[in-house]
Every structure is written in structure tokens, then in C-alpha cells.
Amino acid sequence: MTPERPPELQAERARDTVAAEAIAGHRSGRLTRRRYTDEWVGLLVLAAIGVFAAAAIEAGILHNWLQPPGRLHILLPQTGVGGLSPGADVEVFGIHAGTVRHVRLNPDGETWAEAEIDPQAEPFIRRDSAATIKLRYAVAGAAYVSLSRGKGEPMDWHYAVVKATTDPNPVDMITATIADIRTHVLPILDNAQAMTASLKAVAADLQQGRGSAGKLLTDDTLIRQAEATVTKLQDTIAKLQPQIGSVLDHANRTMSNVQSASRDLKAATPQLPAITRNARDATAELPALLLQAQATTHDLQGLITQLRGLWLLGGGGTPKPADHRISPAQVAP
């Protein structure tokens, strides 16, 4: 049996109950929201990862990661590798395109280097690309491989090989040039020395009156003889003077004849086109004339044949058909 309570207590108790129910309802809503927070955070992380992946694909980073670098075998010259070592740069028309990974010697005695080539640079390296080993600062610095841009067939990147040459060292070239100049100049200097000695000897001989030239300088006999010869020559020319006049007269007359002939030729020249025209016309008439002559001959032959056929002249009346064959007697063994 439940003791009866007073109505004030019952009313207070009812208010408490309503308040308790209200508080419980509020608590249960807050708990529901807390329960889904982790899922929302996870979803956000996944979305961020997705966006990152999409950006990476779009930027081509994955493509680059997935595509391995090309391997290029560089056959090094037999004269030496020019200081090339692993880690050296490989450039294509001045742009960094890869790195030398190994420098090796194969059993045949050939030296070769293996370089990793940036996939972006691969289309520019072709079968006709030339590899040159250069020094970074012409005469000093690290060695690197410079590849020329190829325009021929594309390279087979399963086994890509290029042959390298060493860029000549300018210092070596200068040394060789100096040695060459020395080789050529020294004999010239020797010759000049010998010539000077000869000149000295000749000058000494001249001074002492040796030889023809020396005699000329020291002895005036030859000069006097020359003077006498010139005098005689003048006399001879004076004697020839009248004859020269006669010869000149003849030459003048001949020239006047030639001039006269030229005048005649000049006068005849205007007639040449007419003569040529006449000759051309006459020549053009020749084929027709020949044809006429042939026709006349044939007509004459026909007439003779007909005359032979006349019974008055002893013929049979009807002309024989023309015999086309030559006599069998002319078929000689």
C-alpha cells in the first residue's frame, strides 16, 4: 500500500519528471552528433588525397615516375676518355639531358659509358646525333658529354649507342701550331744565313775585281767596247735609213691595195643577202625539179614501152607488165 502524498508534493514531483525528461532528450541529440565526427574527418582526408592524386596526374609527375630514364651507351674514343667519369653531365644542344652512370671497359678493349637520359630529351637524340666529350671551361673544368640534335632515324632505346669523339684541347692545338711554325721557320732562317754569307762573299769578289761583274766594276775596257759597238750600230742604222724608206713605201702601197680590196668587199656586201636569197630559192626549187625530172623520165619510159608495143615498130601490141626483179645472173655466189 502506497502512502498517499499530499498534492503539493505530487505536483512538484510531476514538474521534476518533466524537467528530467527534457534534459535526457537534449543529451541524447548531442551524443548522436559526436558519434559521426570521425567518419566526416576520414571522408575529408580521403577527398584531400584524391585531389592530390588528380593534381599529380595532371602535372605529369606520376608519368615521369612511371617512365624509367633511357639508357644511352656512349662508345668512348680509343685515344682516351678525356676525363669523363661517373656523374658527368650529358647535354643535348646545351641543355642538361642526363648523367653518366658508369664508365666501363669491355673485353674487346673498347671503353664505353652508360648514361641515363631524361625521357624528355630522348626525342632529340637520334641515330645521327654526335657525341663529343668536352671540358666545361674549354681548357679546364669537369668533362661532360655534348650531344648534337639528331635529324635522322629515331634511336632504338632498347639498346641506344652513340660514338663519342674528344673535343680537341685548345692548348694542344696551340702547342702543335707552334711546333709546326718552328719546323718551317728554322730552315728559312738557315737559308737566310747561308744567303747572307754568299752575298758577303760575292761582294768581296766584286770589290777585288774577280769574275765578269767584278771586272765590269774595276776594268773600263768592256764599257769602251760597248761604246764602240753603239757607234757602229748608229752608223749601220744611218746606212739602212734609205732602204727602210723603200720598205715603208712598199708597205704603204700594200696597205692601200688592201684598203681598195676592203672597199670593193664593202661595196659587194650589200648584194650578199640578195645572192643568198637567190641561192636559197634555187635550192628550194631543186626537190621539185628532181621530182619533175623523175616524172619525165618515167613518162619517157612509159612512152618507150608503148612504142615497143606498136606493131608498126615490130612490137606485140600489148605492153608487158613491168618486171620488178633483177636478173638471176646478178645473184652471184
Binding site: 623523175q294 616524172a295 623520165t297 618515167h298 619510159q301 612509159g302 614501152t305 608503148q306 608495143g309 606498136l310 606493131w311 608498126l312 612490137g315 601490141g317 600489148t318 605492153p319 607488165p321 613491168a322 620488178h324 626483179r325 633483177i326 636478173s327 638471176p328 645472173a329 646478178q330 645473184v331 652471184a332 655466189p333
Partner: protein, 260 residues
């Protein structure tokens, strides 16, 4: 004097009345070329005859005239042979046969006559003998007679005495000797002389060939005359008359030198 015009008019009337039948239609240019070629051959100028016959051959091809092609082919081959080009003669004959075959026209035995002579010159004697035998079947007695003469000559070159005698006998029986032109008489005499020499009668051969030589001279066939002189030398040699044989040989050589 009044009678003269009347007589002239009467004569013209008679002449016009006696005019012969018109000649069959023909190609004037071709006829002229053939005539010029024949005249060149008659004057022993085969090199001049060849271009004329070539012109005629072109005209015959132009008018698609098979009989004319046969005749001109024969003339052209004979002219090339006379110009001492037997190979060219054989080629010409082959061309002519092909042209006739194309037109369904039979090749005349006259072509075989030229072939026999050309093959004999090239020392292809078995083929020459076959060609000469075919040519001997010609309905033209002149061609047949020349073919028989060639048969005998080819047999003589091959050392076939029976063949020479047989050809000579057949040639003698072909026609009476009196009606023949000089060249045919000379052919008969030459072949008879060869047959006599082959039969062991050099004296008969010498007498016969002398007659043939005279006929060849009259006919201005000097190559045949030289052949006769050499046969005379052989006959004189067989008789033991070496000086006479040497004289005939020298005559033949001088004639040959003069021809150059």
C-alpha cells in the same frame, strides 16, 4: 608538096588506131625507184642500188603490195649480196619473208636463190644446198636454171663430185642451149667444165671453161670471169701445165686487183 600533110595525118591516124592497151595501174614513185635500182645493178654499182630499192620497199609497204614486196625484197637482198654483205642479205630475206607471211602471201623461190648464194659465201654449205634445191622448183626458168648452177657450184665447194655432175646434167636438160641468154650459156659451160674436171677430164674442162670465160667477158660479169680463170688454172694444173696454170692464176689476181 600537097600530099605531105595528108600523108602525115594518115600516119597519125594509123598510129592512134594502133595504140596499145593501157598499162596496168602502178605507183610511179615505186616504179622509178625500182628502175633506178636495176640500172645501178646493171652498172655494177650495188651500193647505189641499195638506197633505191629501199625507197621502193618503203613505197611497197605504203601501198601494202605483197607481190611488189616479194620482188623488191629479192632485189634488195641481191643488191646487198652484190655489195658483199651476205649477212645483211640473209637479214633482208628474213624481213621479206616476215612481211609476206603477215600478208598471207607465199614466199617465192627466188628468195631461196639469194639465200643459197649468201649461205654459200658464208660457207654454210648444207643450208645453201637445201636453199638451192628449193629455188630450183621455181616456175621461172631463169631462176630454176640459176638455182641448178648454184647447186652444182655448192656441190663442187663441198667436194661432192656426183653432185656437180648431176647438177650439170639437169641444167643441160632444162632448155635448148641456142635460145639461152649469154649468162645461162656461160653457167652451163662452167658447170660442164667443173663436171669434166670432177670426172677426170681436165683437157675437156679447160676447153669448156675457155668458152665460158669468153661469154663472161662479153656479159661483163667479171667476178664470174675470175672464177672461170681459177677453174682454168686448176684444169691446167691437172694437165701438168704448171706455167699455164700460174698464168691463169696471175690473170685472175690482176683482174681482182683492177676491180679494187
Amino acid at each position: 608538096m600537097r600530099r605531105a600533110p595528108a600523108a602525115l595525118a594518115l600516119a597519125l591516124l594509123l598510129l592512134s588506131g594502133c595504140a596499145s592497151h593501157p598499162a596496168p595501174p602502178q605507183d610511179d614513185a615505186m616504179e622509178v625507184a625500182i628502175s633506178a635500182g636495176r640500172q645501178a645493178m646493171d652498172n655494177h654499182q650495188p651500193a647505189q642500188a641499195i638506197p633505191r630499192f629501199e625507197d621502193a620497199n618503203r613505197r611497197a609497204l605504203l601501198r601494202d603490195d605483197a607481190p611488189a614486196l616479194a620482188d623488191i625484197g629479192y632485189d634488195l637482198a641481191a643488191a646487198r649480196l652484190a655489195d658483199n654483205h651476205p649477212d645483211a642479205a640473209l637479214s633482208e630475206l628474213a624481213r621479206t619473208r616476215a612481211a609476206l607471211s603477215l600478208r598471207g602471201h607465199p614466199a617465192p623461190p627466188a628468195l631461196d636463190l639469194v639465200a643459197a648464194a649468201a649461205l654459200d659465201r658464208l660457207a654454210r654449205l648444207p643450208e645453201a644446198r637445201i636453199a638451192a634445191t628449193r629455188a630450183a622448183t621455181s616456175p621461172d626458168p631463169a631462176i630454176a636454171a640459176r638455182a641448178l648452177f648454184l647447186s652444182g657450184l655448192i656441190a663442187d665447194h663441198a667436194g661432192d663430185r656426183t653432185g656437180v655432175i648431176d647438177a650439170s646434167t639437169r641444167l643441160d636438160h632444162l632448155a635448148p642451149a641456142k635460145a639461152l641468154p649469154r649468162w645461162r650459156q656461160a653457167d652451163r659451160l662452167e658447170l660442164a667444165a667443173r663436171a669434166a674436171l670432177a670426172s677426170g677430164h681436165p683437157d675437156t674442162a679447160l676447153a669448156t671453161i675457155r668458152q665460158a670465160i669468153d661469154l663472161r667477158r662479153d656479159d661483163t660479169d667479171y667476178p664470174a670471169l675470175r672464177r672461170g680463170l681459177r677453174l682454168a688454172a686448176a684444169a691446167a694444173g691437172a694437165l701438168g701445165q704448171t706455167s699455164m696454170a700460174a698464168a691463169y692464176e696471175a690473170q685472175a689476181t690482176q683482174s681482182l686487183d683492177a676491180a679494187k
